[in-house]
């Protein structure tokens, strides 16, 4: 694992060193080219602001209102009826939060890890789930927004189905490996 950690440490300095050097050797005016590219990056960052704000506001209002807890309490009897271990129910806030908001999910995961302990079943499950999927809803809104796509077609369905599979796989593997 330390090899991978080392790669992560070196990869960005490597790119910053190697790309301009190689380009200079290929007679690219590196500084001017950088500035033109950077301007495009700046413009893209500005362009996604409305989408960022739109998504963040609706998610934040939803989360802060306590609606999430009400939904979880509502779902609880169903899960118990399906014969699920009630212990696993603690993971639901994270499972719902994960596709919505990256920082929100990290907050929930941190709270679960502190509450149950990092080396408990729940702590390991929360860690695995947090590491295994991305913020589908957020990425969709910002990426599509940046190029002016308004009709997303089946993109959200694909993303959320993959998230559901990630949740099921997390529960299964953590029970199997650490159970």
């Amino acid at each position: 694992m330390s090899v991978i950690t080392e790669v992560s440490r070196w990869i960005i300095p490597f790119f910053l060193f190697f790309i301009p050097l190689y380009a200079y050797w290929r007679k690219v005016p590196v500084y001017e080219t950088f500035v033109i590219g950077a301007e495009n990056g700046f413009k893209t960052a500005v362009k996604i602001i409305p989408f960022l704000i739109g998504i963040l506001v609706s998610i934040r209002v939803f989360v802060d209102s306590g609606a999430l807890e009400i939904i979880i309490n509502f779902c609880r009897p169903f899960f118990i009826r399906f014969g699920w271990d009630p212990d696993i129910l603690g993971i639901i806030p994270l499972a719902i939060m994960r596709p919505l908001s990256g920082s929100g999910a990290l907050g929930v995961a941190t709270q679960l890890i502190d509450q149950y302990g990092p080396d408990s079943f729940m702590g390991r499950l929360a860690s695995t789930l947090q590491g295994s999927t991305d913020t589908t809803f957020f990425v969709l809104a910002v990426y599509f927004g940046s190029v002016g796509i308004t009709k997303h077609r089946y993109a959200l369905k694909v993303g959320l189905l993959a998230d559901a599979v990630g949740l099921a796989a997390s529960i299964w593997i953590v029970s199997k490996v650490f159970g």
């Binding site: 590196v30 500005v46 209002v61 295994s132 997303h152 369905k157 694909v158 189905l161 990630g166």
Partner: protein, 193 residues
């Protein structure tokens, strides 16, 4: 569908807050979130400018094209609607690599660049192309080898083995990614290639 989800989140949040006597919270949350949006964008501006600048140098030197050309045939088979030498492959591969290494900050600029390239080949400018949806499916379910933030959280919580979840994470994320590719393939078939 996004319109409906967005509206539901907002309305359910406000109604819940109203019923539980926390209506003031709605105002605070909405305004704070709007400010956060700007803060995130400002942070992104610097990172985006840096990486798009470096990326443009790489493009001018012919490196992105070379990466696109050598990108594994597997990745190219996932995007049957793109031309074989499409310039979108470069940033797509870079984005997936950055995701795999857990370099979230570097992944976003490559991802947005990939979207710009995909948009150039998109016949209907307001509608997501199949290649875009495949890319987003891969992006959001992408394998992460080093989930750095969660390892840090585990360390702080006093775990005896903060990195022990790497194996289970790779397994779970591989399942999610396989599912994403498969489901995307089914949808693509249904909507006609």
């Amino acid at each position: 569908m996004v319109n409906l989800v967005w509206l539901l989140l907002l309305l359910v949040g406000i109604i819940t807050a109203a019923l539980s006597g926390k209506i003031d919270q709605v105002t605070v949350s909405a305004l704070e979130a709007a400010e956060l949006g700007i803060a995130v964008a400002i942070q992104l501006m610097g990172v985006m400018s840096l990486w798009m600048g470096i990326m443009y140098i790489a493009e001018k030197a012919g490196m992105v094209q070379a990466l696109a050309k050598f990108s594994s045939p597997l990745i190219r088979r996932l995007f049957p609607s793109l031309k074989e030498n499409s310039p979108a492959f470069g940033p797509i591969v870079m984005n997936l690599c950055a995701n795999i290494l857990g370099l979230g900050n570097a992944a976003t600029p490559f991802g947005l660049k990939a979207m710009q390239e995909l948009q150039k080949e998109n016949p209907k400018k307001d509608t997501a192309s199949q290649a875009m949806i495949t890319f987003l499916a891969l992006n959001t379910s992408c394998i992460t080898i080093v989930p750095a933030s969660i390892i840090a959280v585990r360390m702080k919580a006093g775990s005896i083995s903060p990195t022990e979840i790497i194996g289970t994470t790779i397994f779970a994320t591989s399942c999610a990614m396989t599912a994403a590719i498969f489901v995307d393939y089914l949808f693509r078939k249904r909507h006609g290639l």
